[in-house]
Subunit: 304 residues, 2 copies
């Protein structure tokens, strides 16, 4: 039994009001698998990099019990590279460079040893590649969580609609929920999206937390109010990775477990933004995570 | 012992994507005192209207156990009138008409029978009038809650800073917290504002709920996700009125009681937006309120 994460493993160069980085490791599968590794020890990754990708970063994955057999290394090619600059409010950013490189014709090959996948996270990629991944698994995983973004709604809506039919949980932000549904009210947007395939919808609202919708149930999770957001890159992927990692740990798919999974995912995401890239989420202790989760409990609990 | 509410009692004409009203009753003291009346039966109001103000609306106040001895009726003058139009997202609005009328030289006269005031709500008005109200009370109330808005930060910042020094709880929205403090992070903004006088700060975030700050403690309250927001007018005043009404009911000022007061205030506000003006909050049953509060509990509770 394992948790399969597919997405990008890439280089990012990030500029925030606090400083800038050279090329550092990034990508949706990087953040998600690292986050999930704090809850589950059978993590497997499918992604593609070029021969410029450092061996030590692959070792980093393995040190987190992340199986990299499915990480394709294309000789003579370069890894996907993204460069962006955040504005002062940290809520918006400009993309400076997007070099697809190896990602341009990424074919998600699933190693035979990955066919025991029970939990599947589809990180942000073309819906076509996400769909192919599902189809290449001989057994339908117990839980499929899919992340996507407005970009695919703009250029590949048909593929996207076909893909979300096949998943259990969709994670998008509030603007994307509005775009996908054509409804301004998030309640109406959620009702509509829940008829499109997913049984659960998570609407990520950044500093305002997240909403989980399922049938007629709604859970509102707070975000931890932070004095400083150093670098928001990867926070959404970290959230999703923590979410599905926790679900794999508890092993039973239901609304109550998903509520807790959202809290653990939010806790991981709150660490992610404290340093550049995945630096902080590479080195967390169980105690740090539990203390942070307790902060979420204190933040939102009341007794009436 | 009583709860004194000072603010506007006025006429509004409202246009939303769902329809428009003629002149209907509105004003910060109207919404706040009606909301508070569901929790406490010694509510007193200080405000000013013209002789155009309908007797039946005064009777409405009295039917809610709201004492109107302090409601000045200026013969030959007109009540304050505001007209506004909400945009499709309901989060922004254009002011079409503001006729100050009687409000232009409002002198807040406190009847002798009001001097037993233990709980004071200063609704949105010039900081000068809010301050005068505090000074005219012979005994400092046990709890002073003040609402204000960006308009006074723009034109009367010095008066505002002097007034907030004198209060216990300040309620403002997130943009106003940023404007008042000059800090983008709400945590930093709150830290700064808590050095300006108030011991508690409530940051209202509309559809994203509210944050309560006190010393090093933070409470994050959810907002009820609503399919339709019919008319947001008065929601903030209703929230504040429910908040202080609940505090007057429980009688002990502390962080835990304030958390519950925020939930009750939010519940009242969620009713307010369901109909035009204060129509909905004029006719609520205890059962309706308790059911709504239970929805807030279900919405945000989790067990880790």
């Amino acid at each position: 039994m394992s948790l399969l994460t597919i997405g990008t493993v890439a280089f990012d160069a990030i500029e925030t009001p606090f400083g800038k980085t050279d090329k550092i490791i990034g990508g949706s599968a990087t953040y998600a698998s690292l986050a999930a590794s704090y809850f589950y020890d059978q993590i497997k990754i499918v992604a593609v990099v070029g021969d410029d990708f450092p061996q030590e970063d692959i070792k980093d994955f393995n040190d987190h019990n992340i199986d990299t057999e499915g990480l394709q290394i294309k000789q003579g090619e370069k890894s996907f590279f993204w460069s962006g600059k955040y504005h002062n409010d940290m809520n918006s950013r400009d993309t400076l460079i997007t070099d697809l490189n190896v990602l341009a014709d990424f074919d998600p090959i699933i190693p035979e040893s990955y066919q025991d996948c029970e939990y599947l996270f589809l990180g942000n990629l073309t819906p076509q590649v996400q769909q192919t991944t599902i189809k290449r698994l001989k057994n339908r995983p117990k839980l499929i969580v899919m992340d996507t973004m407005n970009f695919w709604m703009d250029i590949a809506m048909d593929d996207l609609l076909e893909t979300i039919k096949m998943v259990d949980v969709l994670t998008i932000n509030d603007a994307e929920a509005r775009q996908l549904s054509g409804e301004y009210s998030l309640v109406k947007a959620a009702r509509k999206i829940l008829t499109m395939g997913p049984k659960y919808l998570i609407i990520k609202k950044g500093e305002h937390g997240a909403l989980l919708f399922h049938e007629d149930h709604i859970f509102s999770a707070p975000a931890l109010p932070l004095a400083e957001v150093f670098d928001p890159t990867g926070a959404g992927d970290t959230f999703a990775g923590g979410f599905i990692g926790y679900m794999a740990k508890v092993g039973t798919v239901n609304f109550n477990n998903m509520k807790n999974a959202i809290i653990f995912g939010s806790a991981l995401a709150s660490f992610c933004v404290e340093k550049f890239g995945p630096e902080k989420i590479k080195n967390l202790s169980a105690e740090e995570i539990n203390t942070r989760v307790q902060q979420f409990v204190n933040l939102s609990s009341f007794e009436i």
